[in-house]
């Protein structure tokens, strides 16, 4: 189990890095596009599809990491008022349902990506449409691995690697909006 947890630490780190690099890239690419258009006077078409692709990467890898960190918004009102035994049963049920939806993301995501693999994005022909769909099933795999970890070893949202960004002054909430 320890090995699996450590592997998941790496996966978590990987997801955060990929997602973090994606948001940094998109924050640079779009201003560059504006600069090129307004200052250099030659608008380029590529920043837009590149940024959107980065956003898709950011979303699905980041959401997987966020699942491990327990920051997804869930309605806990009813569940928290139930007796402990019921809560545990429901927690398993939630895990099973989460596995189902991640399987859906993986299977249908790959299938979709495969079907349209050879189409190109109009504004940037080197970018294949199929590729832009790929973060969906890949993120699905990451979530699935995190769910397995949760079933096996319980929630890992308090691991140091997951919480290192928290302030020493705890203003952290579980499942918070932005």
């Amino acid at each position: 189990m320890e090995t699996y947890l450590r592997a998941m630490d790496w996966l978590y780190r990987g997801c955060i890095w990929i997602s973090g690099l994606a948001i940094v890239t998109m924050s640079l690419v779009i201003p560059w596009g504006v600069y090129a258009r307004k200052v250099l006077g030659r608008g380029a078409a590529w920043p837009e599809p590149v940024a959107v692709f980065c956003m898709v990467i950011f979303t699905f890898f980041g959401a997987a990491a966020a699942y491990r960190a327990g920051s997804h918004i869930a309605v806990r009102m009813m569940v928290d008022r139930l007796p402990g035994g019921m809560q545990r049963v429901l927690a398993y049920l939630v895990d099973v349902l989460m596995i189902m939806i991640s399987l859906f993301m993986i299977v249908y995501g790959f299938r979709l990506s495969q079907v349209i693999w050879h189409q190109s994005v109009d504004t940037l022909p080197i970018l294949k449409v199929g590729l832009t769909y790929l973060p969906l099933p890949l993120g699905g795999i990451a979530i699935m691995l995190f769910i397995i970890e949760r079933i096996w070893a319980g929630s890992q949202k308090s691991r140091p690697i997951v919480t290192f960004d928290n302030d020493p002054e705890p203003a952290k909430i579980d499942g918070g909006a932005i």
Binding site: G20, I23, V34, A63, H72, R76, M78, T132, D165
Partner: protein, 442 residues
């Protein structure tokens, strides 16, 4: 029956604790299976839901706000507000209100507002003799301004949920007066309490020092002028303005303020990833859910149902408000905007309510939901920052709830409050303005 399958499965999934985003996804799969729609089309909707250029504005605005809030901006905005209103009786509560107004102009997050302004002002107010629960209540209640005053990523989410028929720029302009109205109402309440409970006065700041503080704050407040100026003059789109806000925020905190360290950046990005992606994936799954709802013709049915109850638009608006307030106490803002907008917008349109006006109503209404128990993320953050029990804060908050409800009613029944500036800026035609508000019809 269709509706029961879709909404029923969503309700069950939410109740047993499946995260909201995935509940929407599973419910749309259930709905698709029920209708016999191929699951591929659900998948296509999810991925096209997050494949939009407009959507980029959300992570950008949140990131820009986060950089400035953590890079010492909050403290400077508080100081700036202090030189303007600190010397009045109850000065620090007024500072709290005004700092939130300013904060709203750099960030659209009332959670971030509460966390960053609260951590500066709640201890300060407690030290100067304000009751701690009162200080927290003021912080939470005034943070709703951040949702209205541009830039507001919730306005972007609403614009997306409305199917792109309402421009982000128009919504930004529309939020200005409602935001200030909310701030003004809160300030009036604070003044009332200040005189009743003899809250202390602050001292005036010498001019020289005041100028220096103002200059520093202006660097940050420039963001809003860059964003609005860019959008209104057509130099760049809302999404582009958001990305430029990120670059500007980075520039100001790193090279002007210089109290943020490079090594803190990974933490900031880490936090942004954890908070923003949950909203992004929510948008993706909500797109598939919206698609199934449309196939089931739920919005039309909802319209028929509600117009069957009453044909008076004021009554229907009241029903909608009560419904949203009830939902808002249990759920967060973004999912509710994404689920409820496609259901309610056809109805309100058919009643002649401008979608921009309706958007403001929805944002204020759901914003109140963020500070009401049992589930209110602003309330949770506020109590955590103040180290108080939630019940204590809620008790101190009671008069402010009335203030907020008053603002909600005014925004609901006086459309001109939301539509006046968009009309002035030419985003709304004279005819549209006349039809929605009954003003300037000649």
């Amino acid at each position: 029956m269709d509706a029961l399958v879709l909404l029923g499965s969503l309700a069950i999934l939410l109740a047993i604790g499946v995260p909201v985003a995935y509940s929407l996804g599973i419910a749309s799969i259930v709905g698709a299976l029920w209708l016999g729609v191929p699951l591929e089309s659900v998948m296509i909707k999810i991925s096209s839901g997050v494949n939009s250029f407009m959507l980029l504005a959300i992570p950008f605005f949140v990131l820009a706000g986060a950089i400035m809030a953590e890079g010492g901006m909050a403290r400077r905005l508080v100081s700036f507000a202090y030189i303007l209103v600190g010397f009045i009786r109850g000065g620090l509560s007024l500072v709290n209100v005004l700092a939130s107004t300013f904060f709203g102009a750099i960030s659209g997050s009332s959670v971030a507002d509460t966390a960053s302004i609260g951590s500066v002002l709640i201890p300060e107010m407690a030290k100067k003799g304000y009751p701690r629960d009162f200080a927290t209540a003021v912080t939470c209640a005034t943070s709703v301004q951040a949702l209205l005053i541009p830039p507001s990523h919730n306005a972007v989410i609403y614009s997306l949920a409305a199917g792109g028929t309402v421009s982000i720029g128009t919504l930004f302009l529309a939020g200005i007066i409602p935001g200030l109205l909310l701030g003004g109402t809160m300030a009036a309440l604070c003044l009332f309490f200040a005189y009743r409970h003899r809250h202390p006065k602050g001292e005036a700041i010498p001019l020289r020092q005041a100028l220096k503080i103002a200059m520093e704050a202006l660097w940050g407040l420039m963001t809003i002028f860059i964003i609005m100026g860019g959008i209104l003059s057509g130099i760049f789109t809302a999404t582009e303005s958001a990305s430029i806000a990120v670059v500007w925020a980075f520039f100001v905190t790193m090279f002007i303020y210089r109290d943020y360290k490079w090594k803190d950046l990974p933490r900031l990005i880490h936090r942004t990833v954890k908070t923003v992606t949950i909203v992004m994936i929510l948008i993706g799954f909500a797109a598939s859910f919206g698609y199934i709802m449309t196939l089931m013709q739920l919005p039309q049915k909802m319209t028929q149902f509600l117009t069957g109850l009453s044909d008076n638009k004021y009554t229907i608006l009241l029903i909608i408000n009560i419904m949203l307030l009830a939902l808002g106490t249990m759920m967060d803002m973004a999912p509710l905007i994404l689920i409820m907008t496609p259901i309610l917008l056809p109805l309100t349109r058919s009643l002649g309510i401008d979608p921009v006006h309706f958007g403001m109503l929805m944002i204020v209404n759901l914003g109140i939901g963020l500070i009401t128990p049992p589930v209110g993320s602003v309330l949770f953050v506020g109590s955590a920052v103040a180290r108080l029990k939630i019940e204590q804060v809620v008790k101190a908050m009671l008069p402010f709830y009335f203030g907020l409800l008053f603002v909600l009613l005014v925004i609901t029944y006086v459309p001109a409050i939301s539509l006046f500036i968009p009309w002035l800026a030419g985003m709304l035609s004279d005819r549209q303005f006349c039809v929605s508000t009954g003003l300037f019809c000649n």
